[in-house]
């Protein structure tokens, strides 16, 4: 089905703001016992997309990041690797080579990231290039320009085209809504529902390139959209909050909310990811704290 057909009868679902806030407050105030915490922290580490998306990225910086991805903290036993390394398309080949022999995936941002202000031809070519370089996953951005004008068909059509290209090459697709630019939670829900019509592999909150990144409200709304979509179609879609999640405690809160809204089927890095660069070290520090009983200091953990 094309975008126009999929959008027939599309109705926005309103979001209960007070309900969302209340649920989050309850999740945050819950206490986590140390055994569950240990498990949760290991899980969170294994779900991280270690990300570097700077103009100043060089092959060596990416190689260093890849080493960190495979060896988060060799001083401790039983530490999992992160899920993936997320880079620009031009650095995919470098990352792929550096990660050879490991299970760590390479994700590439594409479709004129972060603004998405380009034509579909260019977006498809960029995606094709990233896939050709060896990307295992593509993180695309939706066109906020068209979304804000109400041109949902255009938005959905682009997602479908990129998805077809990805799936033809057995590459998984994440769709970034950039919730900080699309407005209220109602709009977030609307954008999620539209993106979900294309059955991508993940929907993702943010690029991490603007001030307002992932938060729990937005994540909860997107998770509910995923759940409703799953109920309706039986298609499982993953979730990736990105940007601004820097401490282990909030990572655990996110995991709790995923378990509550979607259930344990989503609690693996196949269906849930954190897009983050600073989170890994805080999770490692908490893991070391759980093991040794001693509060840790950042200087004993490698930076990237």
């Amino acid at each position: 089905m094309n975008a126009a057909q999929l959008l027939v009868g599309f109705k926005p679902t309103p979001v209960d703001l007070l309900g969302v806030n209340d649920r989050i407050t309850r999740i945050k105030s819950r206490s986590i016992k140390s055994e569950a915490k240990l498990q949760g922290l290991q899980m969170a580490l294994n779900m991280i997309d270690l990300t570097t998306l700077e103009g100043a990225d060089t092959p060596n910086k990416v190689r260093q990041l890849c080493y960190k991805a495979m060896h988060p903290h060799d001083q401790m036993n039983g530490i999992p690797t992160v899920a993936a390394v997320c880079v620009f398309p031009t650095l995919v080949r470098t990352a792929k080579e550096a990660l050879k022999g490991s299970n760590v995936k390479v994700a590439a941002v594409s479709t004129y990231f972060p603004s998405g202000q380009s034509t579909i031809e260019i977006k498809l070519r960029e995606t094709q290039y990233a896939i050709g370089e060896g990307a295992d996953e593509i993180d695309m951005v939706i066109s906020r320009r068209e979304f804000l004008q109400g041109n949902f068909e255009y938005v959905l059509d682009q997602i479908i085209q990129i998805k077809q290209l990805c799936h033809k090459n057995k590459v998984r697709l994440k769709v970034i809504l950039e919730t900080g630019e699309i407005g209220s939670l109602d709009e977030v829900r609307k954008a999620s529902d539209i993106a979900l019509l294309a059955n991508p592999d993940f929907i993702k909150t943010s690029t991490g390139k603007i001030g307002q990144a992932a938060n729990m409200q937005v994540t909860l709304v997107m998770l509910q959209a995923i759940w409703d979509h799953y109920q309706k179609t039986g298609v499982q879609v993953g979730m990736k909050p990105a940007g601004g999640i820097s401490d282990a405690k909030s990572a655990l809160h996110y995991l709790m909310i995923v378990k509550e809204v979607l259930g344990p089927e989503w609690l693996s890095n196949k269906w849930f990811r954190f897009g983050a660069s600073r989170l890994a070290n805080d999770v490692l520090m908490q893991l070391a704290k759980q093991e040794s009983g001693v509060y840790q200091a950042p200087q004993y953990f490698s930076k990237d």
Binding site: G293, V294, Y295, Q296, A297, P298, Y300
Partner: protein
Amino acid sequence: MTRLNIQKTYKLFIGGKFPRTESGRFYSINDSKGELIANMCLSSRKDFRNAVVAARKAQSGWAEKTAFNRSQILYRLAEMLETRSKSFVDEMVLLGLSKRKVEKELEKSVDCLVYYAGWCDKYTALFSSVNPTASSHFNFSVHEPTGVVAAIAPEVSPLLGLISVIAPVITGGNSVVVLASEKLATSSISFAEVVQNSDVPGGVINILTGNLAELAPHMASHMDVNAIVTARGALINGLENEIVSNVKRNYDWSKSIDIHNPYKILDTQEVKTTWHPVQTSAASGGGY
């Protein structure tokens, strides 16, 4: 109609804010007749951890301030304390201390702050050195703050004791997490109100109330604490392994009755020694 007294809620002082202890625990302070004066927060290891996070965040900004500015801020602390001294006297008399002694303690507390305010921009000049070398190089040794310091105030002299462990530490650009006197804790949290009003950046001074025996192991083992100073007896007994885990400085100030002592500033300083080639006036092509 009789008016109900409005009692102050004594909380902790962490990161420039007054949170309650996350543990929800408290202990009571009574006057000599056994009447309740106040309930104090019984800090947990998590409160200590939160305070260290706040202290770490604030430390670099505090150290980067000019020495003169740090001096001004310490002097401001003294000013604010002086203007509020009457209420401190009342509060401490309530604990059963003699009024004459408490008034003396207030004066000494203010003087202690002024004393260390004076040292802020002088100790590096006085204690740094240009060392002898065998080549045409300068070799300097200069003092730098060690970082986050855990301090333990004495059980007696609740205000002067508190200030005498805080002042030398922050003079040198460190941030401090201080455990106040347990039995006479009220004035320490009132002092936090003075701190909050004195341009001291949030997190530079953090004040906890609670039990030393409970908190000491966590102070000793925390990897992000660079030094421990205690005015309540040696801390090291039984905690040696924890203290050396990250090579903490550990000083026992309980025997040094001398509050006015610049060497206390040096106890929480690292010495950095650096080389620099001698630039002769000839080589520079004149201009000196």
